[in-house]
């Protein structure tokens, strides 16, 4: 395959990941499909254990040992699952980069921050130390770290949480990657700091025309940050839609439950929240069919047996013609993995 205009930046096809657990080898991702172009912003939302982070780690080639991967992950047409560790290492940091949730544990406490920013520059771009340090300063200024020059020699513990996350971002951006994966980048931060850091990520992504894969459990945050969102549950994508379409209409019972369970400002004191019965199942208890079957009010016998197919939700205004391929653009559509969604919509 040669990269051309139509080759997506990132194409994930039927991605399945098996993990070694105390209950044996279990499938933790059960077929994830999506595509991204440069400049796309895609959100992955779901509760803990649904496979959001695992998807990110699989793309980055950072899965735990003895994990098995099937399906394909193509970056600019190159299948990452077929690459050697060495080849993958040169892509990591240069073409794709990741920001983690907790900047204190992701940064090395024993090195001043400039050295940590300089590391990918020396490794991937062969810069010498002096040039790398100068570039580190530029990067810190770009992520708007106040008094960047004085802070070059600071250690992570001398910075606040928000400042550390800015350093993490500057490391991720050092080699100008094509895709930035941000896994709960602001969960550990206060709301006002979160707002600043998210605005920074959005600004940098737009300036560089990167693809952004944002992982979060926060629906409100997704609404502000991404154009398109995939809802994950039990290792599979249960609904995928442009963020505006999803806020307009939720087709999957899980997505509906997730929206309804969220306390919203302005609710009357003491209002009982709508809940989803039961708990998020542990991986060794996942039903054979739809992972949500045990908690779903609309469950059918079939749901328990086989994983439902993706169905297209015809959104009135959102079928956008793709000029190149002259067919409805798949990535702009609203998909749901539930055979009952029409009945659900009718009853709502």
């Amino acid at each position: 395959m040669t990269p051309s205009n139509t080759t997506p930046l990132l194409s994930v096809r039927n991605l399945r990941v098996g993990l070694q657990t105390s209950h044996g080898q279990l499938e933790a991702l059960r077929g994830v499909d999506f595509e991204m172009q440069r400049g796309d912003t895609l959100g992955l939302i779901g509760e803990s254990g649904c496979g959001k982070s695992l998807t990110a780690l699989a793309i980055m080639g950072l899965l735990p040992e003895r994990a098995t991967v099937s399906g394909s992950i193509a970056l600019n047409g190159t299948d990452l699952t077929q690459l050697s560790d060495e080849a993958l290492c040169t892509l990591r940091g240069t073409r794709m980069a990741m920001i983690f949730q907790e900047p204190m544990t992701a940064l090395n406490p024993l090195h001043p921050i400039w050295k940590q920013i300089a590391e990918p520059l020396q490794l991937h771009q062969g810069m010498d130390l002096v040039a790398a340090k100068a570039r580190a300063l530029e990067l810190l200024e770009r992520v708007q770290l106040p008094r960047a020059r004085e802070r070059l020699d600071n250690y992570p513990h001398q910075l606040s949480g928000g400042q550390r996350q800015r350093v993490m971002i500057s490391i991720a951006l050092a080699c100008q990657p094509d895709i930035l994966i941000a896994d709960e980048p602001t969960t550990a931060l206060d709301v006002t700091v979160q707002k600043e850091v998210l605005a920074l990520i959005r600004q940098l992504v737009t300036e560089d025309g990167m693809g952004l894969l944002l992982i979060s459990h926060d629906l409100g945050l997704m609404r502000d940050q991404v154009e398109r969102v995939m809802v994950m549950y039990g290792g599979a994508v249960v609904e995928s839609a442009p963020i505006k379409a999803l806020f307009g209409m939720r087709a999957h019972p899980y997505t509906q439950g997730l929206f309804a369970a969220r306390p919203k400002l302005g609710l009357k004191r003491g209002t009982r929240l709508q809940t989803i019965a039961g708990n998020v199942p542990e991986i060794f208890n996942w039903p054979q069919g739809c992972a949500f079957a045990d908690r779903c009010a609309y469950v059918q016998d079939n749901c328990r047996q086989t994983v439902p197919q993706l169905e297209l939700v015809p959104d009135k205004a959102d079928v956008i013609e793709d000029k190149v391929a002259d067919k409805p653009k798949r990535v702009d559509a609203h998909w749901v993995r539930c055979p009952e969604w029409q009945q659900l919509e009718a009853s709502a």
Partner: protein, 273 residues
């Protein structure tokens, strides 16, 4: 149960200072002012929310109310008693009337104890010591069973260990442990922020149900304004250890006066549209 309109908790001008480590042997140790002149009153059966960012003094205030620390200045009256003036043994007895639920249900339950001993532990310290009466094993079990069913768990769960439960169930166990002494006040420090959205709603509903049933008061610490809005009658907003705004939840969330409160509200994601 306390009669209505009675002041259950009266915090009067409390300040808390912590000493910083000395920068060198002969240097003077610095201080951090964690709280400065904080006052509020909580009526029996009502809930008070404490809002602020990390480092604003929320948890320090919770610890002072729980009499886990003595304030450098000011007084904390619970049910008319000055907690810091009580002798140790009486304070221990008084503790049965105010209990705490912590943020992390993974860290706050002893992994080596069964649910039965976790849930009944507050009874040992508050009942047996003062009056000398020891509860029989059967009494303990009955009380634990009652507390567990109140929070939606089963009697058969008493013989299990914490690792056998999910995060939401663990938080229910922590609430059962707080309930078992029949307190009038529960101090909840970020009780749902470690939980998933769908489970968070269950626990919040449970806490509201329990409040209705037992006329509990909550002192609810959270960074999530929507949760505070739902759970609390009154709110105080802390910044750098000082109260910058206080009032009814409706007032504060609909017409925030202080720029800091306004900034907090404006920073909630997803509200821009």
């Amino acid at each position: 149960m306390k009669s209505s309109h009675q002041v259950l908790l009266d915090v009067q001008l409390v300040s808390q200072q912590y000493a910083l480590p000395k920068p060198s042997l002969f240097a003077k140790a610095g201080h951090i002012q964690a709280l400065k002149d904080v006052s509020f009153q909580l009526t029996a059966g009502k809930s008070m929310g404490i809002v602020g960012e990390s480092g604003s003094g929320k948890s320090t205030l919770a610890r002072l109310v729980m009499a886990l620390e003595k304030p450098t200045q000011g007084k904390v009256f619970f049910d008319g008693k000055d907690l810091n003036a009580l002798p140790q043994d009486q304070l221990r007895l008084a503790r049965s009337d105010f209990q705490m639920v912590f943020q992390d249900p993974y860290g706050s339950l002893d992994p080596r104890q069964k649910v039965l001993s976790i849930v009944t532990e507050p009874l040992h310290s508050t009942l047996s010591s003062g009056s000398g009466q020891l509860l029989s094993t059967q009494d303990l079990k009955d009380r634990a069973t009652f507390a567990l069913t109140e929070v939606g768990l089963r009697a058969s769960d008493l013989d299990k260990y914490p690792h056998e439960f999910s995060g939401g169930q663990r938080q229910r166990i922590a609430i059962a442990r707080a309930l078992i002494t029949r307190p009038s006040l529960i101090v909840a420090d970020e009780p749902v922020s470690a939980l998933d959205v769908s489970v968070q709603a269950q626990v919040l509903n449970l806490m509201m149900d329990l409040q209705d049933r037992f006329a509990l008061s909550y002192l609810f610490v959270s960074h999530d304004l929507a949760v505070i809005n739902l759970m609390c009658d009154d709110v105080i907003v802390l910044q750098h250890g000082q109260v910058v705004e206080a009032g009814s939840a409706d007032e504060i969330f609909q017409r925030p006066q202080h720029p800091y409160t306004q900034a907090l509200l404006a920073a909630i994601p997803g509200l821009s549209q």
